[in-house]
């Protein structure tokens, strides 16, 4: 697509390519689950557990809608998991164009819930449903804080 703005032709048809481009950055509150994000920076995987029903949440949730309560415990996850499903993303979203092809996996955590994250340290050909995984906190050079699966 042409970078020229204003009146441009595409496939022989006149288009008005807008001059009004907006950069879009969201600022998302994570204050109520701050321990999760701060824990990742310290190499820990914390999540919430409802004090009333005992349900372990992942991703962490500040509220338990089943019990109508916000009375939650913070617990540490072992990271032990088993692979449920996976894919390798070749056609990437615009804001991921700088990354090489990446594998995404859904893993069943030992503590009950499942997690979705990148799976690194393994080739796609060697990935199998049922393989043992470890979920680990990661801090990237760009300052991004996240977590990844690696083969156990």
């Amino acid at each position: 697509m042409s970078e020229q703005k204003g009146l441009v032709e595409e496939k022989g048809l006149l288009q008005l390519k807008s001059f009004r481009t907006i950069p879009l950055t969201y600022t998302i509150p994570v204050a109520r689950i701050a321990k999760f994000w701060e824990g990742l920076k310290e190499g820990k995987l914390y999540t919430t557990k409802c004090k009333k029903c005992g349900k372990v949440f992942f991703p962490p949730s500040a509220d338990c809608p089943d019990c109508m309560t916000s009375d939650m415990d913070w617990v540490e996850l072992s990271g032990d998991a088993e692979l449920v499903a996976f894919t390798e993303i070749h056609v990437k979203p615009a804001t991921f164009s700088q990354y090489p092809t990446y594998i995404v996996a859904v893993g069943q955590l030992k503590e009950g819930p499942r997690a979705l994250a990148w799976l690194t340290g393994v080739k796609r050909e060697d990935v199998k449903v049922g393989m043992k995984l470890k979920l680990k906190p990661v801090v990237y050079e760009e300052g991004r804080v996240a977590y990844e699966f690696v083969p156990a």
Binding site: I28, P59, A85, F86, T87, I89, H90, V91, A94, L116
Partner: protein, 387 residues
């Protein structure tokens, strides 16, 4: 509740429509629907407009398209249920007429996805799973989500990439025979298997195209419908269910539970079983999705979807013809238009007026539309009947 019938349907050509803006595109479908019903804008009471948005310039599309189509001062609403948006619009129109609030309502569905470049379109769809938990750090895409369902289905039931390819081959076969479809050429299993990977095991020819299109459906209450047309197509059953945004929170990854629940509601309301359906439109955004639909709708048992396509049972002449208009795969999937496009196709199937090569054998006079939103975030099922 009153009985409600489809009395008019319209459909633009699907494709990369650089020749029209959103209003001009939508007008093509609205004009055809009004002409099909023999009605004018004055006869319409209420207009739900289904569109996902973001990839075109207008944030309030219902206002823009109703103005352009001469529908002012009719009441309207812009509705969204991800990829099931068009069906959400049809159901809103149905509730309005069935309840007695309106005698005639028109559901419009449209999308114009090609006003942004492909990576940006991939981004807008990819963000629609769970933004912070599945996109921000992991860059999920919609082919990626369906690839997760595919690898889990493959592991549980021995489904192969060839089975998925067979769905693409069938849908291209019919797309080639549908004058309104975008991708009008036949392909072979090898073409699919050799196409470039998008989100392994999903390849280029397993994916529906990003494109533009519009469709419109006019619904009327029984007593009005019988005056408008000799061939009303009745809405016999509707169903709607939801599921988690986070795919990791699903009960399992080899079914779409919202589709199972929505179809059960619709079958019960219509008092039919899956075996009564003569022809179906299902949500084949990716080829694995059509295999899941066979199973979730009860056209076969769980795990037997691959066998159904392998035996050719979903072609015209088979047990249950599915997507004989090309489906999302070959007809195209302009997101908001799809649900209305399904009702357009099934209405014409039941009237027996589609191209002869793709006309299903209408025995019981029952057709079913299955429209999944997101990765199963929502599902709308609509059952139509000739009698």
């Amino acid at each position: 509740m009153r009985k409600v019938a489809v009395v008019g349907v319209g459909h633009s050509n699907f494709g990369v429509r650089k020749d029209v803006n959103i209003a001009e595109l939508t007008w093509e479908a609205v004009k055809e629907a009004l002409e099909d019903a023999g009605l004018t804008q004055k006869d319409i009471d209420y207009v739900p407009v289904g569109s996902y948005g973001f990839w075109y310039e207008e944030p309030l599309p219902a206002v823009v398209v109703t103005e352009y189509c001469g529908l002012v001062p009719k009441g309207h609403v812009h509705c969204e249920s991800a990829c099931a948006t068009g069906s959400a619009a049809v159901h809103l129109a149905y509730y309005r007429v069935a309840s007695g609030l309106s005698d005639i309502a028109m559901a419009i569905g449209f999308e114009k996805m090609t006003e942004v470049d492909t990576p940006t379109a991939v981004e807008f769809i990819g963000r629609a799973g769970s933004y912070i938990w599945e996109f921000e750090n992991f860059g999920m895409t919609f082919p990626g989500y369906y690839a997760l369902l595919a690898t889990n289905h493959m592991a549980n039931f021995g489904t192969k990439e060839e089975h998925m390819a067979m769905v693409a081959v069938k849908n291209h076969y019919y797309g080639a025979r549908n004058e309104k479809a975008y991708l009008r050429r036949e392909i072979k299993v090898e073409d699919v298997l050799n196409s470039r990977p998008v989100a392994w095991p999903i390849k280029f020819f397993d994916c529906c195209p990003i494109n533009d299109g519009a469709a419109a459906v006019i619904l009327a209450a029984e007593e009005v419908a019988k005056k408008i047309t000799d061939t009303p197509i009745w809405i016999k059953g509707v169903g709607c269910a939801g599921d988690t945004g986070n795919i990791a929170k699903r009960e399992n990854l080899f079914s779409i539970r919202s589709a199972q629940l929505a179809s059960q509601q619709a079958y019960e309301m219509a008092k039919i079983t899956p075996q009564d359906v003569d022809v179906a439109e299902v949500h084949d955004c990716f080829t694995i999705a059509e295999i899941l639909a066979y199973e979730d709708l009860g056209f076969c048992k769980k795990g037997e979807g691959p066998k159904l396509i392998e035996e050719g049972q979903t072609y015209v002449g088979g047990k249950i013809p599915v997507n004989v208009d090309g489906g999302l795969k070959a007809k195209g999937h302009p997101i908001g238009a799809t649900g209305c496009s399904m009702i357009y196709e099934l209405t014409r199937q039941l009237r027996q007026e589609v191209e002869p090569e793709r006309q299903a054998d209408i025995k019981k006079g029952i057709a079913l539309a299955h429209n999944v939103g997101g990765t199963g975030h929502s599902c709308y099922v609509t059952i139509l009947g000739r009698d």
